[in-house]
Symmetry: C2
């Protein structure tokens, strides 16, 4: 069943074609105008608190030998997406690449050699039409899990996220409002957990029930679906998002992506990032605060130190609380995994560490 969104997207795609067609009819050089997606056009917007794409534009022209291959590819991708929406299907970006790959008749030339050629075309269409790839019926990989007192309508199914047993509901790639509707949300906050294994500890203890919250994991760096879902829960229901990761530069970067977004997806971050997200832990400062034995800390390696230096330079980490934590991590020379809290007892993390931090509002901004 085509949604209103599908009709809007189809129209936008058709307009791209119509514009090109009218240029041809007028004897003009067929030109596709799109935002410039280079680092020089990416910035951190202090006002919204998200990474954004600037307003520099570029023209992709058919009659420019440096552009014509990319022009052809962009048009092929746009046409295929329209077809996919018409067929009421969702495909992966790898499917799209294969569906379009062929040797152009009468030549030895392939339309695409690698998926690395079709992916940027998708991104170009996303940002020039101001659409998410999910709205283009393209599925990103989704690997998250969620549980809590939430009732979701997904197609014909009504899904009760309190009744997912030990498994949890697998978050789909597309959680746009025309696909995923929240029928009920009874929770005070969302706990966004870096690791799958830790999420399972929280789920086994029915933390979401005891603390009246929603527990989510993105299994490492979260996918678009998980991030969009967190944003929707924050925007539509005013739920705070608390992020729980390892105390290392990689965990803290996961937080940074949930909150501010990433440079690679700058053009979509207004729809994916949650600037209100807060960092619950772990911190290397927790080692002394909670009297965690040094044996379970891990010495920073060269890669950690290098990444930490990069993080210190990010504009959005220029806050005194983060400067303190980064300083402590460097001085102590160690990092700490969430599982290390098991040293303090199997349920230390679910019964003491997280509830106390939330009760005392001990967050990093």
């Amino acid at each position: 069943m085509k949604t209103a969104k599908d009709k809007e997207v189809t129209e936008k795609l058709e307009n791209v074609g119509k514009t090109i067609l009218s240029q041809i009819e007028k004897g003009q050089n067929p030109t596709f105008r799109l935002p410039l997606r280079t680092l020089s056009n990416v910035y951190f917007d202090e006002k919204t608190g998200t990474i954004k794409l600037g307003d520099k534009m570029a023209d992709r022209q058919f009659l420019n030998i440096a552009h014509s291959r990319k022009f052809m590819q962009t048009m092929l991708v746009a046409a295929e997406i329209k077809k996919v929406i018409q067929e009421e299907a969702t495909i992966s970006i790898r499917d799209l690449y294969y569906a379009l790959k062929h040797t152009i008749e009468g030549t030895q030339e392939n339309t695409f050699e690698e998926q690395s050629e079709s992916d940027p075309c998708i991104e170009d269409i996303e940002c020039s039409l101001d659409l998410l790839r999910e709205e283009l019926h393209l599925a990103a990989s989704a690997k998250g899990i969620i549980a809590g007192d939430v009732l979701i309508k997904d197609g014909k199914d009504t899904i009760d996220l309190t009744k997912m047993g030990s498994g949890g509901w697998s978050v789909p790639s597309n959680v746009e409002p025309d696909r995923i509707e929240f029928k009920k949300v009874n929770a005070e906050y969302v706990l966004f957990i870096e690791k799958d294994a830790v999420w399972r500890r929280f789920n086994e203890d029915q933390f979401w029930k005891k603390q009246n919250c929603i527990i989510m994991t993105g299994r490492g760096q979260p996918g678009r679906g998980e991030r969009r879902l967190a944003q929707r829960l924050n925007k539509e229901f005013g739920l705070p998002i608390y992020v729980l990761t390892d105390a290392d530069p990689w965990g803290m970067y996961i937080y940074s992506v949930i909150k501010q977004g990433s440079i690679a997806l700058s053009y979509s971050e207004e729809k994916l990032a949650t600037p209100q997200a807060k960092f619950l832990g772990l911190l290397t400062q927790d080692v002394e605060k909670y009297n965690i034995p040094k044996e379970v800390t891990i010495k920073l390696n060269n890669l950690d130190v290098k990444r930490l230096k990069e993080m210190e330079n990010y504009k959005w980490f220029q806050k005194k609380e983060w400067k303190e934590e980064f300083k402590n991590m460097k001085e102590k020379g160690y990092k700490l995994e969430l599982e290390a809290l098991s040293k303090k007892g199997i349920r230390f993390i679910t019964e003491k560490y997280v509830p106390e931090k939330i009760k005392n509002k001990e967050f990093l901004p």
Copy 2:
């Protein structure tokens, strides 16, 4: 709530301790007897069709300087597992490592330096007591998804796998009968799909409904939970398991693990492997059969060729159908991804390729 299985496991663990204690009381050298888990003691059992551990045994002795560290570690792990079961919790193997890591009083010596020291102790306990690690309340990573006309009882929750929307139910790590009970299974077979993105295509098309089957994915090499679930569906309900992977040595090895098991887990394969599983595809032979354009095939690289050679030597691949396929792959010099079928149309895989193969019983053994 402790299950009968929990009581049985606790008793087995206590018996380990009691045996050691009685040896000490008699002034004997404390000794833990366990199956030898080296390659020389692993074999392929033609009768059961699974990889197995042989009957060579080894003794781990406290008063042997080469054994004493490992002896101490094994006892620590056994004791902690008993504690975890008592606390009615499930923890990850990383949690276990951290929970047990400490500097031994009066020394500079740590009980464990790396998780690579505690993991083998878990395996030793598993195979010496003939238990799965799930029965020891240890969670392995589980990343699979499932959908179909199945009603599952998981703790207090009854979960209807027809009503999981676009997400699916996330398969937990522990699917033992005392945790996961099948209340209803209405399906003719299980389709076990290598890739998440492909599973989503099948789920979107409600393939499980149209074909009256269960669709599962292990997202690459499946975890223990997914394999055990497939085995249970096969054993308890007689459902055939059809495996769908890329046509490359890696996909075919995934099939091999589902069917025969792996060398690393040889001691558990009787409980994890499904010797009745059949290989549905892809095959490189499908390229000609289904007239798939050569542009979407991928040239074999050196690693592929090396892996293929290893596979050709496995005992369980000594069947004429597999020899033919391996020969074809080598001669053509290409491999093929599941997504490449999108070249034949978005729904070619769900509406033609898989249904036809099943209808015509075109499987590899």
